[in-house]
C-alpha cells in the first residue's frame, strides 16, 4: 500500500518531457518533489504563474508571489506572470498538458466530485470546474477509500459533480486505474496489494485483464 508521497511518486512518472502541468492542492502538490530532474517541465498555477519553483528561503518570502493555495513560492528561470483570464485561457485552450487533482469521488464513466458535500459548509469550486472541463489529460490522486472505509471509485457519484466524463486515470494508495468505456481498468497494483484487495475496495466496475503487474516506483 502507498502513502501520500508514494502516490505522488507514482504520478510523477506520468509527467513527460516538455509538459506544462497544473497541480491541485494536497497530494498533487507533492508530485513536483518527484519529477525527474533530467526532463523539462513547467508548473502552472492558475492564479497567474508559469514556471513555479520551490518555497522561498526564510526571509525571502514575497507577498506578491503565491500559488493557488495562497502559499509563498519562488519562480524558476523562464517563468512568466499573467492575469486570471489568460491563465484560464491556457487551461481552457488545452495548452496545459496535464492536470493532477484530488477527488472525493470518481465514477466509472469518468465523472468527478470534489467540491461540495451537501449539509456541510461549501467553500467553493475555485478553478476545479474549469480544469476538469477543459484538460485533455486528467489524473486523479486520491486514497482508494474514505475515512469510513467506503470506496471512492463508484458506479455513479453521489456528491454534486465537478465535471462529467473527464477523468482519464486514477492513482490511489492501492492501484493505478484507467477510465474506459467498460469501467475502471486495473493497470497496476501497489506493492503488497492483491487484485482481490482492490476489487473489495472498488464499488464501480473493475476490469481485470490478465496478470496485473506491481507498480515500479
Amino acid at each position: 500500500m502507498l502513502d501520500k508521497n508514494g502516490i505522488a511518486k507514482r504520478i510523477a512518472r506520468e509527467v513527460k518531457d516538455g509538459y506544462y502541468v497544473n497541480l491541485g492542492i494536497g497530494i498533487p502538490t507533492l508530485v513536483a518533489n518527484f519529477v525527474r530532474d533530467d526532463i523539462s517541465v513547467e508548473f502552472q498555477s492558475e492564479n497567474g504563474v508559469l514556471g513555479m519553483g520551490p518555497f522561498p528561503y526564510e526571509g525571502e518570502e514575497d507577498a506578491d508571489l503565491i500559488n493557488a493555495g495562497k502559499q509563498t513560492i519562488t519562480t524558476l528561470p523562464g517563468a512568466s506572470f499573467f492575469d486570471s483570464a489568460l491563465s484560464f485561457g491556457m487551461i481552457r485552450g488545452q495548452h496545459v498538458h496535464l492536470t493532477i487533482l484530488g477527488a472525493m469521488e470518481v465514477a466509472e464513466n469518468g465523472d468527478i466530485a470534489n467540491w461540495k458535500i451537501p449539509g456541510k459548509l461549501v467553500k467553493g469550486m475555485g478553478g476545479a470546474m474549469d480544469l476538469v472541463a477543459s484538460a485533455e489529460n486528467i489524473i486523479v490522486a486520491m486514497m482508494h477509500t474514505n475515512k469510513a472505509g467506503e470506496s471512492k471509485l463508484l458506479k455513479r457519484c453521489t456528491l454534486p459533480l465537478t465535471g462529467v466524463r473527464c477523468v482519464k486515470k486514477i492513482v490511489t494508495n492501492l492501484a493505478v486505474l484507467e477510465v474506459t468505456p467498460e469501467g475502471f481498468q486495473l493497470l497496476e497494483r501497489a506493492p503488497g496489494v492483491s487484485v482481490e484487495d482492490i476489487k473489495k475496495a472498488t464499488e464501480g466496475k473493475l476490469v481485470v485483464n490478465g496478470t496485473i503487474p506491481e507498480m515500479a516506483l
Binding site: E58, K70, D83, S84, R92, K123, M125, G127, V164
Partner: protein, 236 residues
C-alpha cells in the same frame, strides 16, 4: 495626455452608494485594493454586491466589509478561510453565488471587451449550469455565461502613471487586469504613481483607457496568508 489622477482615496471613491455592485481585484490577500477597501469600511456603504475571487480573511481584505455587514451578496469562486463569512452564509444573512474561477475571470473580461456572454465548458453537467443555456460545438458541450455588470471596479497595481497606465507585479496581477474597464468606473490604486512618460509604453500591462481614476495608496500592509518557506542548506 488625459489625466486620471485624483488626490486621494476619498476623491477616488466619489459616487459610491448603497446597493451598488463592485468588482474587487486580488487572489486571496494578494493584490487586493487595500486602500479602497479601508475607505469603503470608513464610508459605511451597505447592501453591496461584491465580485471578487475570494472574500478575504476575518480581519483583513473583504473580511473587514463583512464584519460590518456591508455586503449583501458575494460572487466568488472560493470563500474558505473566513469564519464571519461562514457564519453569515449559514444564518442566511449573506447571499453567495459560487462561480468557477475561469468563468469568473472571463465574465469580467467579457464586460471589459464588450461581449454580452460567452460559452465555456466549465460547469457543464453540474449545478453551476442549472437554468443556463447549453450548446454543443464540435461534439463538446458548453454553458452560456453572461458578462458581469458593475458600478465600480477597484483594482490594485504596482506602478501607474498620471494617464492611468498600469503595471502589475508577480501574482498580484491575477484578476486586476480583467476588471479594468469592466465596470462603469474603474478606480486603480498603485504603490507608486509616476508622471506620464516615466513608464516604458512597451511595459504597460493595462492602458489608461480602461482606468477612470488613479491614486497612490497611502500604505500597503500586503499580508501573507500562508507563509511557506524552506530551510537554507547548511554551507560547510
Amino acid at each position: 495626455m488625459i489625466r486620471k489622477t485624483v488626490p486621494n482615496v476619498q476623491e477616488a471613491l466619489r459616487g459610491i452608494a448603497d446597493g451598488m455592485t463592485l468588482m474587487l481585484g486580488g487572489f486571496g490577500l494578494c493584490g487586493i485594493p487595500e486602500n479602497a477597501i479601508a475607505e469603503l469600511v470608513r464610508l459605511g456603504v451597505k447592501d453591496l454586491t461584491c465580485i471578487s475571487n475570494n472574500a478575504g480573511v476575518d480581519d483583513f481584505g473583504l473580511g473587514l466589509l463583512l464584519k460590518k455587514r456591508q455586503i449583501k451578496k458575494m460572487i466568488s469562486s472560493y470563500v474558505g478561510e473566513n469564519e464571519e463569512f461562514e457564519r453569515q452564509m449559514l444564518q442566511g444573512e449573506l447571499d453567495v453565488e459560487l462561480t468557477p474561477q475561469g468563468t469568473l475571470a472571463e465574465k469580467c473580461r467579457a464586460a471589459q471587451a464588450g461581449f454580452p456572454a460567452f460559452y465555456t465548458p466549465a460547469g457543464f453537467g453540474t449545478e453551476v449550469a442549472e437554468g443556463k443555456e447549453t450548446r454543443e460545438f464540435n461534439g463538446k458541450m458548453y454553458v452560456l455565461e453572461a458578462a458581469f455588470k458593475a458600478d465600480f471596479s477597484f483594482v490594485k497595481a504596482w506602478k501607474g502613471d498620471a494617464a492611468g497606465n498600469l503595471i502589475f507585479k508577480g501574482t498580484a496581477r491575477n484578476f486586476n487586469p480583467c476588471m479594468c474597464g469592466a465596470a462603469n468606473i474603474t478606480v486603480a490604486e498603485v504603490e507608486e504613481l509616476v508622471p506620464a512618460g516615466e513608464l516604458d509604453p512597451n511595459a504597460i500591462h493595462i492602458p489608461g483607457i480602461f482606468v477612470q481614476r488613479i491614486f497612490q495608496g497611502e500604505k500597503y500592509e500586503k499580508r501573507i496568508e500562508q507563509r511557506t518557506v524552506r530551510k537554507r542548506e547548511q554551507t560547510p
